[in-house]
């Protein structure tokens, strides 16, 4: 690996910019994500910046169990994030649809629609767990570089909540 590539890898790891998207969350995880930027947890030490536009972001943070209405929006926003990019699913909802399983308004979990790099479980997860997830995603981003992960559509969970 030449010097430029090493510098690029290091910079990607040290400068993850986030875009936060709510796909029908109860707002619990959203509050915790914002809490991780506050003085107590200070995500800016990791180079994290919460951006207003998905075009500026590297890491897409998605909360919520993915309602039918939000699927199109998630796909659009994922397409708007410039490559290389990573996705962090915050909370138990995007990972398994949580207590809303079998709801007719849901089309989750999240990895049926876009490839997810890091799951941060919890209802809601603690801010330090979210920060750990973001750091892990930034590391993945740096290692992966420009190549994008293949979409691995997971099957819908069955009534017992177990993904096959």
């Amino acid at each position: 690996m030449n010097l430029w590539n090493r510098l690029m890898c290091y910079s990607r790891r040290r400068s993850p910019w986030l875009f936060h998207m709510n796909s029908g969350s109860c707002n619990g995880c959203d509050i915790e994500l914002v809490a991780s930027l506050t003085p107590r947890y200070d995500a800016e030490q990791l180079g994290v910046r919460l951006e207003g536009s998905p075009r500026h972001a590297d890491i897409l943070c998605i909360t919520g169990p993915v309602t039918r209405n939000s699927v199109q929006a998630i796909e659009t926003v994922y397409g708007q994030v410039g490559s290389p990019k990573a996705v962090v699913a915050i909370g138990s909802c995007p990972a398994s649809t949580n207590v809303f399983i079998d709801s007719r308004v849901l089309d989750g979990p999240l990895n049926r629609h876009i490839p997810v790099d890091v799951f941060v479980p919890g209802c809601p997860p603690r801010p330090d767990a979210i920060l750990q997830g973001i750091a892990a995603a930034a590391k993945k981003l740096a290692e992966r570089g420009a190549q994008r992960p293949a979409v691995q559509p997971a099957s819908a969970p069955d009534s017992t909540g177990v993904q096959s």
Partner: protein
């Protein structure tokens, strides 16, 4: 004017080669000062550099319905104008080189704002258009005061040349002008309480919303260079002149850093004002100040 010295001044010192690390340093001081005001530790020293390198390596997603050539041109124009403005600062003793006066410096410093307005409108995003409209209102508001202050400084010292202005001893009227310029800087640099155009909680990123990757990196760089040029201008007018050039350069750099710190602390301590409040602040309160400076200068000139 010697072409080699002109190019050296524009590209090496105090031009691009020194201005770009200076821009990153000032961006870092701004973020660090805001973080420390909020009792955070804040970003590491190299953060703006990492951000810049990372943005260079990102791809730009397609923009549907726009060819995008004009959108690519605006950030480049903004960076070159801001770098030209930094190159004009009289850090080195005059030896021919890239010479210009205060009027050229002001014109070059105004180009990035115009580029931001044009970029927002050419990106066709509704949020970008609102941001551009706000930027236009802001430009019209603070520029009246800014230009009047500069005119009063130039008239009180009988010159528009930057070199001579830096060397002349400061008069009380010049301090009044410097103060008026300092009041305009937060609006010129889009920081709180005048961060209307890029109000991230209301209109996302304002005019920058459709930009990504290397183009966004250029916008960040031009913003940093604007910091260097604007604080450098105030430092040039405020710092006393000595015969040794390196003491002058050191004083200029220290004074610039001090101004960045002052503005960042102001940004951290205040909240964003609405459009009408901002316009009223500049047109009613500060304009009076600037008119006072200009009229007293003219009266002094009539008397002498």
């Amino acid at each position: 004017m010697n072409l080699t010295t002109a190019l050296a001044r524009l590209l090496i010192f105090p031009g691009l080669l020194f201005a770009v690390p200076g821009a990153w340093l000032f961006l870092w001081i701004e973020r660090k000062a805001v973080a420390m005001m909020q009792q955070r530790i804040g970003p590491p020293f190299m953060q703006p550099f990492f951000d810049f390198i990372k943005l260079l390596g990102k791809t730009t997603p397609d923009r549907s319905g726009i060819s995008g050539h004009l959108m690519k041109a605006w950030p480049l124009l903004a960076v070159s104008a801001a770098a030209g403005a930094v190159g004009l600062l009289p850090v080195l003793p005059s030896s021919g080189g890239f010479e210009g006066d205060l009027i050229l410096l002001l014109a070059l410093m105004e180009v990035p704002s115009i580029c931001v307005i044009a970029a927002g409108f050419s990106s066709r995003s509704i949020f970008a258009e609102i941001g551009s409209a706000r930027e236009a209102v802001l430009t019209v508001s603070y520029n009246v005061v800014f230009l009047l202050a500069i005119v009063s400084i130039a008239a009180s010292q009988h010159t528009f040349r930057l070199e001579s202005l830096a060397q002349l001893p400061a008069t009380p009227l010049r301090w009044l002008g410097v103060l008026a310029v300092l009041v305009c800087l937060p609006a010129k640099l889009h920081i709180n309480p005048f961060s209307l155009p890029n109000a991230e909680q209301e209109i996302y990123s304002g005019p920058m919303i459709e930009y990504a990757g290397p183009e966004l990196a250029m916008w960040e760089l031009s913003h940093g260079l604007e910091w260097v040029a604007a604080t450098g201008l105030v430092a040039t007018l405020a710092v006393p002149h000595f015969s040794t050039w390196w003491i002058d350069a050191l004083l200029l750099a220290t004074c610039s850093c001090g101004i960045v710190l002052l503005l960042s602390v102001l940004a951290a301590a205040t909240a964003r004002l609405a459009v009408d409040t901002t316009a009223r602040f500049y047109w009613q309160c500060t304009l009076l100040f600037a008119v006072l400076a200009v009229s007293s200068t003219l009266l002094m000139r009539l008397r002498t």
